[in-house]
């Protein structure tokens, strides 16, 4: 089934007030940033309020939307003319965008609440909330936009918020560098997105979804593929997919709630959103672009998983995991309508359980004086009971423990990919096994075994304002997957926005891939328990084998970037500066010096002796006389 037609909203109801979703947090950010220190006292509360307000609006819009006939569920609300002749700012309310809105505002609000506690000792807490609000606004604009330009504004807005939040503790050089790196790598992706937009505009003369999507098929095959690949480049940047993955691990320099909200639950999934949103038009089933998406997805899911196995930093381990899980989503998004629902379902459940895991990790760090090295944890389950339980639920969800969220969504992806391309499917199964290993390793190293922290740390459970969000998130991590997948609830809901496959998938609890996955996960978990649970974990990182180092160094991604781009870039920069100073400016200054030098020599003729001057006059007279004579005789 093709996606429904995008209708122009007639007005009325919550939908026409959907702009409030964006404006509320934006206003919050503006008030907190412009208000300055005067808002220090209540700034965090305002931030939470605005985020919750956005959630309320989203919920109301959602309620209005499900009240409509499925064919009427894609409505665009034009707000104002942005660039005459090119683009308007408008919102597209459809099942896809509203799903995202609910996820963003709900998880976002929880993380806002959590941050009240997490950032309570930070003198700049107000600024932090301002940035969070800014992020929420930008992210909502990204998903709600009804054209590529507005999407791009949100796209860069979240990039900015991400930059500001990664570099929130900017006095740490590592944070400042990581923030810059994130922005620059994202810009590489943006390059793709920009060129894609140019190409779309040159082809269709518009950038609005409503006009582009129905006509996409009229463009030539090559153009479609080109647009798809360029969009994919943008998606890779934002979603940390190969080859633009390197920024995500460094982005863990930001405060943990940021990692949870931006670098796990929402922003990094924007790439998936972009692919799914443009899917029907530029990544149709069986297209080259779609194939590339799946390859990128599989490569990233394996790479992320491998990186996750070797990290001792709890947040970087989770970051590797995030890469990997987004790889799954990409993989699903690349196979066409059969995968969209699973991609989005996994995206949503991942948003919950990964946020749960990150916030749990944050809670651990909060308890351990911001220590992030898992080798210095150990045996924390008794001291941090709530954190442990919620983290453990998240853990079970992510490894796909039966009946928890991840089980349904990841299994759904693997199943649908199997139908599409068996090789990719089995690779995805392998990835699930590795997931089992690294997540178990993480849980074991953190919560089990003997304590390995030194005397200065006094682990203590986090305050209620931090534990309640954990509890809520873990509750959703348990049940959401089943709710979305069973009886294809999400698939049917999303159908007007992204289309649906000819035959609806049926959930098989005991299929071969499903069982294999479970078995591999069990094996992975078993190895992890054997390696880290049964034997002593060294406090200092051992050197490790070649493979461990390979994974620990992020598969040499940074080294590769450095060798391929950074060093030649620096060399080129120096060359260009030299060329500018000595080459271009050298020519100009050389010309000036030449004129100056020759006139300097020439002026020596001016000896000051009157008689010399007189001689030159007289010689001139003689020459004139000669010339006269010559001319006269001619």
């Amino acid at each position: 089934m093709e996606p429904a037609e995008i209708l122009s909203h007639a007005g009325g109801g919550a939908i026409s007030l959907a702009w409030l979703m964006i404006v509320l947090p934006l206003a919050g950010a503006a008030i907190l940033l412009i208000g300055g220190r005067a808002t220090n006292k209540w700034g965090h509360l305002l931030g939470v309020l605005m985020s919750v307000g956005a959630f309320v609006v989203a919920a109301l819009v959602f309620l209005q939307l499900i009240g409509l006939d499925p064919a009427q569920r894609r409505q665009s609300v034009n707000l104002y003319e942005f660039i005459p002749g090119v683009a308007n700012i408008g919102l597209l309310i459809d099942p896809l965008s509203i799903s995202f809105c609910l996820l963003i505002t709900f998880v976002g609000s929880l993380i806002h609440v959590y941050s009240i506690g997490y950032m309570s000792h930070d003198p700049d807490r107000r600024r932090f909330f301002a940035y969070l609000n800014l992020f929420v606004a930008a992210m909502l604009l990204l998903v709600l936009a009804d054209n590529y330009v507005a999407l791009f504004i949100g796209w860069e807005g979240v990039g900015l918020a991400s930059y500001l939040l990664i570099g929130f503790w900017q006095y740490k050089p590592s944070a400042a560098v990581a923030a810059k790196k994130a922005f620059v790598v994202n810009r590489v992706g943006d390059f793709g997105l920009l060129v894609a937009m140019f190409l779309i505009f040159a082809q269709f003369g518009t950038l609005s979804y409503a006009e582009v999507f129905p006509n996409a098929a009229q463009a030539s095959q090559g153009v479609q593929t080109a647009i798809g690949l360029l969009l994919l480049l943008g998606a890779c940047g934002k979603s940390a997919q190969l080859p633009l993955q390197s920024w995500l691990l460094d982005a863990m320099e930001g405060p943990t709630p940021v990692s949870a909200l931006i670098h796990a639950a929402t922003m990094v999934t924007a790439g998936v959103y972009l692919v799914v949103r443009s899917g029907a038009a530029f990544f149709p089933e069986g297209s080259t672009a779609g194939l590339v998406v799946t390859i990128v997805g599989v490569a990233t899911l394996l790479a992320g998983a491998i990186i996750g196995t070797a990290k001792d930093d709890i947040k970087k381990g989770l970051a590797g995991s995030t890469m990997s899980q987004i790889g799954y989503m990409m993989l699903a998004a690349g196979i066409g309508p059969a995968g969209y629902a699973f991609a989005i379902a996994h995206l949503i459940t991942h948003g919950f359980f990964k946020a749960d895991l990150f916030l749990g990790a944050g809670s651990v760090m909060h308890a351990m004086n911001d220590e992030v090295d898992m080798r210095r944890y150990g045996g924390l389950r008794k001291l941090l009971p709530i954190t442990f339980v919620t983290f453990f639920i998240g853990y079970l969800a992510i490894i796909g423990f039966p009946l928890l969220s991840g089980y349904f969504t990841k299994d759904g992806i693997i199943e649908s990919v199997m139908h599409h391309n068996a090789i990719l499917g089995w690779l995805a199964v392998l990835g699930a096994g590795i997931t089992g290993f690294y997540m178990t390793r993480m849980v074991v190293m953190t919560f089990f075994g003997p304590k390995r922290w030194d005397e200065k740390a006094h682990p203590h459970e986090s305050p209620a304002v931090m534990t309640w969000p954990l509890i809520i998130l873990s509750v959703f991590s348990v049940g959401l997957g089943a709710y979305l997948i069973l009886s294809n609830r999400l698939l049917v809901f999303l159908a007007p926005a992204v289309g649906q496959p000819a035959e609806l998938p049926v959930f098989h609890p005991f299929s071969v891939p499903g069982l294999t996955t479970l078995a591999l996960v069990a094996v992975g978990a078993g190895i992890a328990i054997a390696k880290y649970g049964r034997s002593e974990v060294p406090v200092v990182q051992p050197r490790g084998s070649f493979l461990t180092v390979f994974a620990r160094r992020d598969l040499y991604g940074d080294a590769l970037n450095e060798a391929l781009f950074m060093r030649p870039g620096q060399w080129l920069t120096r060359l260009a500066v030299f060329f500018d100073n000595r080459g271009i400016d050298g020519v100009v200054n050389g010309l000036a010096a030449g004129v100056g030098g020759s006139s300097g020599r020439l002026r020596k003729i001016q000896t000051g002796y009157v008689r010399s001057y007189a001689l030159s006059i007289f010689v001139g007279a003689a020459v004139l006389a000669g010339a006269w004579f010559v001319v006269g005789t001619l």
Partner: protein, 98 residues
């Protein structure tokens, strides 16, 4: 005959010019300039007769007046220079250079 006068005039003029160029005493240089002026006057007078009108003579007359004025000023300058530098050599006054 006109040719003879003119050649004489040219000769005198050239000799005056050489004098200006080789002599260093400002007064002598000045005299050589006067010689050149006189050589010109001779040519004017010659042409006046050649052409049968006295315009040439009038010009020569004006030249004489201007030469007189010039001598007055020039010699005053020489005296002033001499007073300050105790020298009448034109080569000594060579500060205005480069």
């Amino acid at each position: 005959m006109t040719t003879h006068y003119l050649v004489l005039s040219a000769l005198l003029f050239a000799i005056g010019g050489i004098g200006v160029l080789v002599r260093r005493n400002a007064i002598v240089v000045f005299m050589c300039v006067e010689l050149m002026l006189n050589a010109c006057n001779l040519a004017f007078v010659t042409f006046a007769r050649q052409n049968g009108n006295v315009d040439g003579q009038v010009i020569a007359f004006f030249v004489m007046i201007v030469a007189a004025a010039e001598v007055v000023i020039g010699l005053a300058i020489i005296v002033t220079i001499f007073r300050t530098r105790r020298s009448a050599s034109v080569d000594d006054a060579s500060l205005l250079k480069y």
